[in-house]
Amino acid sequence: MNIADPTFEWFALSPVLAVLAAACLGVLAEAFLPQKPRYYAQLALAEIGLLGGFALLVWNWSAAAVSASGAPQAVTGAKLAMGALVFDPPSYLFWGALLVFGALAVAVFGERAMTGATAFAASVSAIPGSQAEADAIAAKREHTEVFPLALFSLTGMMVFGSAGDLLTMFVALEVMSLPLYLLSGMGRRRRLFSQEAALKYFLLGSFASAFFLFGMALLYGYSGSFDFAVIDTSLATSEMNRGILLAGLGLMAVGLLFKMGVVPFQSWVPDVYAGAPTPVTGFMAICTKLAAAAGLARVFFVALGGERWSWQPVFAVLAIATMAVGVILALSQTDLKRLLAYSAISHAGFLLTAVVGAYQFVPEGQLNSLGAIFYYLVAYGFATIPAFAIITTLRDTSGGEATDLAKWSGLGKSNPLLAGIFSLLLLSFAGIPLTAGFIGKWAVFAAAWQGGFWWLAITGIGFSLVAAYVYIKVIVAMFFGEPAEGVQLGQASMLTWLPISLGAIGTLWLGLFPAQLMDLIAQAQVFVK
């Protein structure tokens, strides 16, 4: 038996490896550093890992964009680590977004100026309400493992969206999910609520993973390979029963749509988003969605693109159901985190319309389905991280976050700047023109329309109209409601304010001047098979 030596393209892999290395160093730091400097070391390590990874990614791109003779050339991409990873132009996009949004979200993790401690439990192992917990709080203990956990999760996300075969994808799925389950359960306040959310997320996530795995096995049975490119060719050549293919396709879809939070696999979203520590919710909301969307697009555009007549109608029905559930149930929410959770579900639905369009071959300079999805996610990320960061700033008398919508009444009078930024972000969620969200919605609906699903685009526009009520309700409460009693704004540090202001700037910038990012995306929106 002849086993070839494994080969690794270290330079191309370096963005992922930087994050992974930072995570591993974080574990070491957790073990060996004393308590006091540990927080600073972990925060610095995480940010260096993420921003370093981003720098390496940019370096990679600029190196690839220049030919040996020095002339500019199109970035084509390559398969890395013997086909396990595909480092193609879309990978650059999604990795870049994951690293930037990861860096912003992790900064919020580090916020402790408002209450003197991070949003994470002092001691996760201590039973809530016990003496051990009280002792841990008194000793100012902190779980700084949250930083390496987030980095591990991000490593998984980066690999997930760029996997070249199903096996890598499954491993990446678990690598990204397991730390998220943990992070969700580490809330400092309302710990039982947080732990309950983590357990639900874990149980339902495992359930979904099982479907994913089953679907994988069936696809392997049909095509004889895990490799996306081989599965693609097998669609035309395989002599197996088509039923196996369809069952595998359906079950794979279940696993992937679960991560996106698409109806009917959305039940976990409101509970987990509400129960998880708010910085983690912000992190999950954008980064998980980025990874899941990239993975979904890669599996269904690359491996199963030839079978799109089978899955487009299914996804179309689910997209409508998702938009409907997300929007309609958001109408009656009174808790801001839950409201944004339902908003996240509706956004998954809007995203799915572009997937359904499967619009791939576009005139030069226009966005295809993947480009539209990416633009939408960038717009969503610039709005959602600061939105959840803003939620951490309003505190009730006990020092806990005041997430009840009634507590936000009248904020526009006491703090017009913060309320103004929050309103801008909400308008972007709603897709109002001059914000990034508008361009994002326009892009995904255009992709659906161009792909032949004009009725889906019109349905989506209808639901975005209804959704506007949800967000404007909050703005009206903030600016026209009587100021609420018993709440005050925490004195947040730069770790919260930087993501908020960058997000607000990004939201406005991408709404006013979308052309730059669109041009960049247009160069890099085609998967390599």
Binding site: L204, G250, F258, W311
Partner: protein, 631 residues
Amino acid sequence: MILLETMAAGAISYAWLMIAVPAVSAALLLLLGKAADAWGHWLGVLAALASFAVAVACFGQLLASAESAREVTVPLFTWITTPTWHIDAALLIDPLSILFALLITGVGSVIHIYSVGYMAHDERKRRFFAFLNLFVAAMLILVLSDNYLVLFVGWEGVGLASYLLIGFWQHKPSAAAAAKKAFVMNRVGDLGMTMSVFTMLALIGSSSFADVNAAAAKLPWGWVTAIGFFLLLGACGKSAQVPLQAWLLDAMEGPTPVSALIHAATMVTAGVYLVVRSHAIYAETEAAALAVCVVGAVTLLVGAWIGCSKDDIKKVLAGSTMSQIGYMMLAAGIGPAGWAFAIFHLLTHGFFKANMFLGAGSVMHAMGDDVNMRNFGALRKAIPITFWTFAMGYLAIIGFPGFAGYFSKDHIIEAAFEHGPAFGIIAILGAGVTAFYMTRLMLMTYFGEARWEKDIHPHESPLTMTVPLMILAAFSVIAGFLMNGWISGWLNPGLGVAEHEAEWLPTPVGLVTLVVIAAGVFLGWQLFGKKPVPKEVPDTSNPLVIAGRNDVFGDAVNSALAVKPTMLLADTTVANDTWIIDRGVDGLATGFLELSRVGRKVQTGQVRSYALFMAVGVFLVGVLVIVGQLG
């Protein structure tokens, strides 16, 4: 905005200053606020005078040029560039436009000076002068542009200034309503303007006078007629011609200098300018040209008719203005034979009507802002300067031989007879009626017994008001004589008008006209000079008088034809909005909220039910996949 290099030389290359100076002055007066209250009106006067100086310089340069070189285009900047259309903003200085520029800035300056006296005690004097300057700038854009689209900018600008100035005394509900009425009725005309520009851009690809004139002959008859009617609609709105005449009488709610400048001398004649400027269009379409004549003839009579039966001195003059513009329209519709006379009458009318309006302002000044002529009488001794200057205007408008109106009106009547006897008879009849109602005005105001209200002590106006009156009176006397032998030749290159032999002695038609005028004057003296004028409005069963007192039922017609149907449509729309759309939207919103309240119960918080939900979901996906295969 790309500035274009100008090829014009001398004063004409600075022609843009004519517009820029009053525009900047208007902006300054409005922006500086109270800081400019003390001296703002003098800035306004200076701006108008500066503009006049530039106009005179440009005129001088044109006079000195060879006849073939009297049409100068001054490019300013590129305004609109699209793949289909390219529109430059440019000024066209030619014999026609420069006459207008002189009238606007010249009479405008005089009226600015007059206003210093007239508005001396008004708290919002600075704003008044700002609006006057704005008007001058906009009116100059209108007449100087070389392009229908740029003309339209000025067209709307004067409409705005007119609206602001009619409603200047906004504390009076009647003034506010009159401003709105003028604005809305002008929108109807503006619709015609925009449609004509759209048609030009669509068919010709350009809206510049040169391109449109060149292309007019090649257009299909239907389209050139359509453009002609669209332009006529625009002209009717701006010039208060039947059927869009009703706003002009109400517009007298504005301060009197406004009535003189905008609603007598300049803006309301823009329609005549438009028709004359579009002569190439009307040369191609008999139907539209005939429509212009008919509109002019009808308005000529309607305006005179209204003038006969009003007791409000300004409304008599307003009716008279409509009537005189009707003459101009008639002349403009006649064709090459009438164009020069339309402009000639426009200029002389600009002088004598501004003169009489300012005179009426001076009378009002003397009589405590009363406008009812039944409260006047015997004023010739009390305010002699006003009386004598007004008398010059009177002689000019009735066409007393040698005075300004005599020459210009006589030419129009002659041309109308040549065009068609019906038009000629109407024109002569109009001249007689004009003589009648103007005599009535003179007798009721200046002669007879004093019928003054208590505590009214008439006094002559200050010099700032009487000097302008004298200037305008002088022009009312000599303008016709000065221009009679000259104007046809002057306008010849731009319009290609038929050269007329200047007539100095009355022709047979002219003699008949003089007889009819004399009859009008005599009749007026019989009714209002020989016997005392009653202070109360006499009852009458004469349907002609009743119609005249009611503005020939213009408002009633508008109400029945436009206002009532529009209100019905509006009411229906409101009802539809309230009962169907609002109910529908509210119901939809309630429905969604109810759905939301029910739907959230699915989110039980129990992980087992979530898992069940997922399992059902998997089943659903399976069903969908299978259904998809069947389809």
